[in-house]
Every structure is written in C-alpha cells, then in structure tokens.
C-alpha cells in the first residue's frame, strides 16, 4: 500500500556557517511515502535540512527542486519550529494570524480557530498571551497554527519534545489524521517509538549527510549501515 514517490530533488545542497559545513553537500532524490521521519543524533543537521527544504535557511550552495508544483511554494508548506515562535499576541490571535494574512473573513477565521483550538486541546487558554504559555502549550499552538494553513507539506521539528505522554498521543492522532487526509509530513524526532508508530519512510542523517533512506519497515528492521543499526539500538554513533 505504501510506495515511495519522488517529492524533491536536492542538488549539491550545502549549508555553511562560519566557514564550517554543517550540512551537505547533498545530492539526493528525496522520496516519500507520505510520512517521512528524519532521524539522527544531536547536531546531525536535521533542523538544518528541514529549514533548507522549506527555504528558511539560506543555502551556501546548491538547490532544492520540488517535484510537484503543488508543494513548491511557502503557501503550500507549513513549519513547526523546534523552538516554537510565538507572536506576542493571544493564542486566538496567533491562530488567526496566518488566515488574516491570506485575507480570510472574520467568521471563517473564527470557525477555523475554534476548530483547531479544540483539536489540540487549548480551549482553556484561548485568550492567554502566547509567549507566557508552557513549553508544551506552545508546541501545540505552533502545530495548530501550522495546520490551520491546510498545507500540502508539513514540516515538524521535534513537535513533541516538550509534551507529556498523553499530549504526545493526542498530537500523533492529529498528525495521522492530516496525513491520511493528504498532507505530506516531514518530521524529526528523537523518540524512536514515535518514529516507528508514525513513519512511512525514514531519512537517517549523520554528520550533515544523508546516511541511509528507505521505507520505514526496511530501515528499522534491516538497516544497511552499521551506524544506523547502532543508532536504532540506542547506541552512540559518531
């Protein structure tokens, strides 16, 4: 049922900061079966890769080309950053913001906001000042604010890092739903259990390079490289 389809082509993608190459050079045809999980140790370059794919990270060299024009522009994509960025406004206003940018009318915005606030369980803090929310609430708000845009491609950079077990499951349910409804997800996580639950395919990153890719069952059950194998067993890989 799941099959890999090409979604983007990376050509010599390189990100250098202060003279140090932190990503790439990567030349790779990125394929996805719908829910791509990017794995790798801290500092491997996961955040940088997602940022580069989305286009918020300035590339030092190379290019990213999206296969489908429906995925190519910012308005088809949404991003939940590793450190959630809260507008200095209320939760309600944070959620409304992307829709206001698109010029939706008030009633429409109100309906959507109430819908999403319910789905991520933030009803109780609807009129609270967003920068004062707890870490987990911020994560949920950032996720809802991304989903309210109805993106074709959704980037998630450790969206459950600050969430407790229950909230994590709730969010996973939401993510599965939107994924089933047709949104491609590209997500990083350090929770291997979560990765196994959600992934349709995996990108394993090491030292700024794509080390191994493939459908989730293959990669998890029969990793081709010793580093990936060690990483999935919880060992330290360098």
């Amino acid at each position: 049922m799941v099959a890999l389809v090409p979604i983007a082509t990376l050509k010599d993608v390189t990100v250098k900061r202060r003279g140090k190459t932190i990503l790439g050079p990567i030349s790779h045809g990125l394929e996805s079966a719908g829910f791509t999980i990017v794995l790798g140790p801290n500092g491997a370059g996961k955040t940088t890769l997602l940022n580069a794919l989305h286009g918020v990270e300035r590339l030092s060299d190379g290019s990213v080309t999206w296969t489908s024009p429906d995925h190519a522009s910012y308005k088809d994509q949404a991003f939940v950053f590793q450190r959630p960025i809260m507008l200095r406004r209320t939760v309600r206003q944070n959620l409304a913001y992307p829709l206001q940018l698109l010029g939706h009318n008030k009633n429409e915005i109100e309906t959507e906001v109430m819908d999403w606030v319910g789905r991520v369980g933030l009803n109780g803090v609807l009129d609270h000042f967003a920068p004062r929310l707890s870490g987990g609430e911020k994560q949920k708000l950032a996720l809802a604010r991304a989903l309210i845009q109805k993106p074709k491609v959704l980037f998630l950079d450790e969206p459950c890092a600050n969430l407790d077990g229950r909230s994590t499951r709730e969010i996973e349910t939401v993510l599965s739903e939107v994924n089933t409804a047709g949104t491609s997800v590209i997500m990083t996580t350090h929770d291997l259990g979560q990765a196994r639950r959600l992934a349709s395919d995996v990108v394993f990153l090491l030292n700024g390079q794509i080390h191994e890719t493939g459908l989730a069952p293959h990669v998890f059950e029969a990793p081709k490289t010793p580093e990936a194998k060690a990483f999935f067993q919880g060992d330290i890989v360098e």
Binding site: N51, H54, G55, V56, S73, Y74, K75, Q77, A78, F79, F81, I85, L87, R88, R89, T90, Y97, P98, L101, D127, F129, Q149
Partner: protein
C-alpha cells in the same frame, strides 16, 4: 530658592485662573508637537522597521547617518529649514515661514531620526525572534513591517514619547522658523525664552512648570491608554 518658589506660585496662579494666553500657548504647543509627532511617526516607524528587516548595500551607512542625524543640534535644523522656507529660499513661494506649519516641519526633521533609530533598535530584536516564522508564512514586506510595528508597539510607544518630549521641549529651531509671534507662533518654550529675556523669571519658570506638567500628562495618558488596551490580553 526664592525664585523657584515664586515660579511655582506663578504657575499655580496661571493655571487656576486659566489664563487666556497660557491656554492658547499651551494648546498651540500641543498642536505643533503632536502634529509633528504624528507625521514623524508615520515616517519613522515604517522606515525604522524596514531598516531592521532589509539587508541592502548601504544599510550600515544609512544607520550611521540616522544616528548622526539624531545628534543634529535643533538650531542647525532650524536654520536650514529657515533658509529653505525663506521667501528667498527654494520653497519661499509657499509662504510657510513664521507659521505653525514651519514649526511642525522643523520638529519633524528633528524627531524623525530619533524615533526611527529607537524603532530600528527595538525592531531588530523582534525581527530576530519572528524571522523564521514570518518567512515561513510567506509574508510580504508590507505585512512584515505591519506585524512588527503592531507587536512591538510598546517599544515604539517609548520611542514616540521620546520624540514628543524632544519636540515639545525644543526651542532653538522653532524660535528661528516660527519667529515667536504673539497669537500666531508663540509656544511654551519660546514664551519661556522671551520671559527669561525680560528678566521675568517667575513667569518664565511658571511656564516651565506648565511645560513639565504637560509632558508628564501626555506620557501618563499614552501609557494609560496602552495599559487598558493590554489589560485584556496579558
């Protein structure tokens, strides 16, 4: 000490009797400086914000110029505006010299760099915070500027107040371009200069206290306004 006491008394007397000249001069001061503030803010807030979010070739030079302009002595501004607006100057035909409009122009020139510079400082921080999100949301430059101005409005209010304080307390420039004409361009500061010139310290000091009170009042009013507005959200 004696003189300060006499000044306080004079101020008290002027205020309780609602002295006609005082009211007129005070209203004109407010009129001129608030108009200058509105115009300067309309220029400086978007410009300062734009400067914070755009990378372009002469950005550093622009910021340096802005900071230099901020230190420009008001008298010099007054002199330049005078020469421009003089009947023998390039904009003489407009007949604006020695009118409140000329004073507003001079004050706009004086406070715009100040407000723009404070705006730039505040907006740079906010932009660093919002950068990734606003890019990800595919915002236009206009939307970015508006979002930053709106969400940074508290810092900007401080900038605007600094501008207002500088405008209403300024005397050198408006003396030159306004001419301190009774019933036409006399404002608190020029009236103070005039009374000081007559050795009439009590009245000068009285006007000075009115000026201070006015500045405080406007500050409180604006802060109170922003607080009621924040109350629901914080």
């Amino acid at each position: 000490m004696n003189e300060i006491w006499a000044g306080l008394l004079a101020a008290f007397h002027l205020i309780v009797t609602l002295d006609g000249d005082l009211v007129e001069i005070t209203l004109r001061s407010l009129q001129v400086s608030l108009s200058a503030l509105v115009i300067a803010s309309a220029l400086a807030l978007p410009f300062g914000t734009w400067l914070a979010i755009r990378r372009f070739r002469f950005r550093r030079a622009t910021i340096a110029t802005l900071n230099a302009l901020m230190g420009l002595p008001p008298v010099v501004v007054g002199l330049i505006v005078y020469l421009l607006l003089s009947r023998s100057g390039p904009f003489g035909v407009l007949g604006l010299l020695f009118t409140p409009t000329a004073m507003i122009i001079a004050q706009v020139v004086i406070i715009t760099p100040l407000i723009a510079s404070i705006t730039h400082q505040a907006m740079r921080e906010l932009w660093a915070e919002y950068h990734d999100l606003l890019i990800s949301l595919n915002t236009s430059n206009r939307q970015r500027v508006l979002t930053l101005i709106w969400d940074g409005r508290r810092a900007l209010l401080t900038g605007a107040l600094a501008g207002f304080g500088r405008a209403i307390g300024e005397v050198g420039a408006i003396m030159i371009v306004g001419g301190n004409i009774d019933n036409a361009t006399r404002v608190l500061t020029t009236a103070i200069a005039l009374e000081t010139g007559k050795g009439n310290f009590a009245l000068a000091l009285g006007l000075g206290f009115v000026l201070i009170a006015l500045a405080l009042l406007v500050n409180f009013a604006i802060h109170a306004l922003s607080r009621t507005e924040r109350h629901s959200t914080w």
